[in-house]
Symmetry: C2
Subunit: 461 residues, 2 copies
């Protein structure tokens, strides 16, 4: 059977060439047609292949509405990139045509100076103030995630009045998934919630306050993502009203937005733990920006590495006597890092799932300590045997194996504990756990290998 | 203003003690009351603190319906853990009371022997076959993610008949978010879709085929997550019908399920890249299982490390002559790993966003190559200067700095390319990129440092 979705737009091998051609003809209609023909993925790929000059050209050829639509279809990092390349005037024209919450998200991601320049160019000062306010919410708070499109009616309305207003303004409500309708008091304070279903099934003359659910669940605009996830986790709400400090309903937060934000957080964690910091990197971004952002993570790391390696420098005589140690130092360092990172990942995961509280150190020490003793023993036996057999020296095997054993115990303990400690001090565990862990375990690993070796030097040399 | 949501159940410091007490009294009502009083997070924490014996006790005290509800509220890994601890008979009683798609998900995550044992204990053979079929879908395919609860009516029905059947069976439909109603032919083949809104606003006597959207968008049960994300990304569907090979509608996939699965994938990627393989680890799992799973990643890694370090063994004479080299080998190895991992993260991200295709090597080589030259130079100058100044030997600085420079270029090239290659060969990039990258860059790093040093040995010693 055929469906009208199945034939997705054909994929182009080099979709940017289609766009470039359309740009060269100077025909806006053709450009628009090409963009509509491309799938979302091809559009993103094409945009990432075109030059900043071409981006400008595309956006200037489209009317601001179409340009806004194009921006909406791009990943946020890419949309921000495009806006930053533009003049503030041109960017303002587009921002005016974006839904407020999306415009605010993009402005928040831009450099502060850039976003202020765009806001200053908005024709409508009230709109600028409104966007500034929206952008002031953390993107992952209830205020940052909410949509301002919702249907609220005075609590004195009848069912018939509500249904009539809904159908008369059907246009306005077509974009929002009207699952719930809110009943508000004179000042806009939230008094009740009505399910659309109940509205439809109730005689038209009845007052909505007779069928509304009074004192409905709601969240505060300042609520953070963690508490939102907890609330939506607890019950199957499709969406919840968002209140400001005065109890006035200012928006609605759909379940989907909370789930998407949670996924975005995860992406951020993953990127942070891989050393992508200071904002998401796409390869279409300017080289120097990419280089600088990566170095901002690498440069402190090289210093931490030096601190750790300074332990080796203190034992040059030992290495001089037993050159084989130089072979095993990087292995002990790398393996301890691997073991510790596993413990970090499990701790971050358990924190996310709420299986552990940042204060529960003893549980980690117990659970990781036992595991470290077993895994350290296995790894120590493997590496120690190889070391001992290679140089035909039992003592070398004992030194290397023993050091790896002890250092594995230490690594998993540290790896398990560091995320809890960081969380407690409100530092992003994904960002900082790796370098702290590596530095400590490297130092201890080097120290253990070289100190043990020094102690039995006569047996090794 | 007060809301009835605000007072979430109070948090208990040690919620498992409440449960233990309730278990000791032997009073099932009290146990149920305690479980209902606990928030979802406290329940999870409590379960992870109780022993397998206590889990058995709890589940046997609850009737299967309540036990099923408890399982539904837990993270999947935890629910699977509980089921695996139980006897197949007891597990089957609970599975019978779970929604089919959740039961199938859990069975899929269990060891094959365990899940077959549970299925064999199901009273209803048809139900067992049905679950077996559901569990045969990849969890992240349309068939694995769909819900089988949907409302479909013969295309010959009138609007009035549909509305009447909906309201008569309101109970059955209360769990599903009826946004759409489907019109099907005699054999169950999907012919059209109707929005609930349109149904309500249409005269009751009209036939539904006059207001349905014919040939609606749909997906195949075998469609994978990537194509689902693409389709839901392309348009704002709240849900799509899922068809089997014969074009019969077998379920509905809500947008939310697709987004949640995408987030789960991300979690999996993160865990894999941290060396948590063979299934998610929670610290409540048996020690030997946790230990074995972690070692299954560490043990191959130690061998790869040995391969890399064997390069050092070939240059023992060089190190003997210039002991300082032993200090810098681990630093070069670690820094190259860091640089390479940044490139891996950006490649995985760009693959996810569809900004790059697995075949586009040249773009990576160009974009990472330039960046590697810059970052390698900066890092090389930093580390080389320190090495040179420390030993007051310009040549040592040149050797260390030069090696790090070249090795950084190599690392970012490899880091950028490896995920594309793995993707092309259908290997999970998050799982395998790290070890491959580290082994290669370690080998090259050690080789560069020691080979350069050997070449200018007379200047260094």
């Amino acid at each position: 059977m055929t469906t009208d979705l199945a034939p997705l737009p054909p994929e182009f091998d080099r979709p940017w060439e289609e766009i470039t051609e359309a740009l060269e003809t100077g025909d806006s209609q053709r450009l628009l047609a090409v963009l509509e023909e491309l799938s979302a993925e091809d559009t993103r790929r094409a945009i990432s292949r075109l030059s900043p000059e071409q981006h400008q050209l595309i956006l200037s050829r489209l009317d601001p509405e179409d340009a806004a639509e194009l921006l909406e279809s791009l990943p946020e990092a890419q949309a921000v990139e495009l806006l930053e390349e533009m003049s503030p005037e041109a960017a303002a024209d587009i921002v005016e045509n974006l839904p407020d919450n999306i415009g605010a998200d993009l402005l928040q991601e831009m450099d502060e100076a850039d976003s202020e320049a765009v806001l200053a160019e908005l024709d409508d000062v009230d709109e600028a103030d409104h966007l500034r306010e929206l952008a002031s919410y953390q993107w992952d708070s209830a205020g940052g995630l909410m949509t301002e499109a919702f249907a609220a009616f005075p609590v004195t309305h009848t069912v018939g009045m509500v249904l009539q207003e809904l159908s008369e303004n059907a246009e306005d409500y077509s974009d929002l998934d009207v699952q719930y309708v809110y009943a508000v008091g004179q000042s806009g304070d939230l008094l009740g919630v009505l399910r659309l279903r109940d509205l439809v099934l109730t005689p038209r003359h009845r007052n909505i306050d007779t069928i509304m659910i009074p004192n409905p669940a709601s969240v505060q605009a300042s609520d953070d993502l963690e508490s939102l996830v907890e609330i939506f986790d607890e019950r199957d709400y499709l969406g919840l009203p968002v209140l400001n400090n005065a109890g006035i309903i200012v928006g609605v937060i759909p379940r989907e937005s909370v789930m998407e934000a949670a996924a975005d957080h995860l992406t951020e964690d993953y990127l942070h733990s891989s050393g992508i910091v200071g904002g998401e990197e796409l390869r279409s971004m300017p080289l120097m920006q990419r280089s600088f952002r990566r170095l901002s993570w690498l440069a402190p790391n090289i210093l931490l590495n030096l601190v750790a390696a300074s332990v080796i420098a203190m034992y040059e005589d030992t290495i001089q006597a037993v050159i084989a140690l130089a072979v095993f130092l990087p292995i002990v360092s790398d393996m301890s890092g691997c073991s510790g990172n596993q413990a970090v990942a499990v701790s971050i995961r358990e924190l996310t799932l709420g299986l552990i509280r940042p204060s529960e150190y003893l549980r980690i020490i117990w659970k990781e300590g036992l595991l470290g003793i077993i895994n350290g023993f296995v790894l120590g036996v493997i590496l120690g045997s190889i070391a001992g057999l290679w140089k035909d020296n039992l003592w070398l095997g004992l030194v290397i194996g023993g050091a790896l054993w002890f250092n594995t115990v230490l690594s998993v303990l540290l790896g398990g504990l560091v995320p809890l400690l960081l969380k407690r001090f409100k530092i992003d565990p994904a960002l900082a756990s790796g370098p702290i862990l590596t530095t400590c375990t490297d130092m201890c690993g080097f120290f253990l290998v070289l100190n043990l070796a020094s102690a039995v030097l006569s047996r090794l040399a």
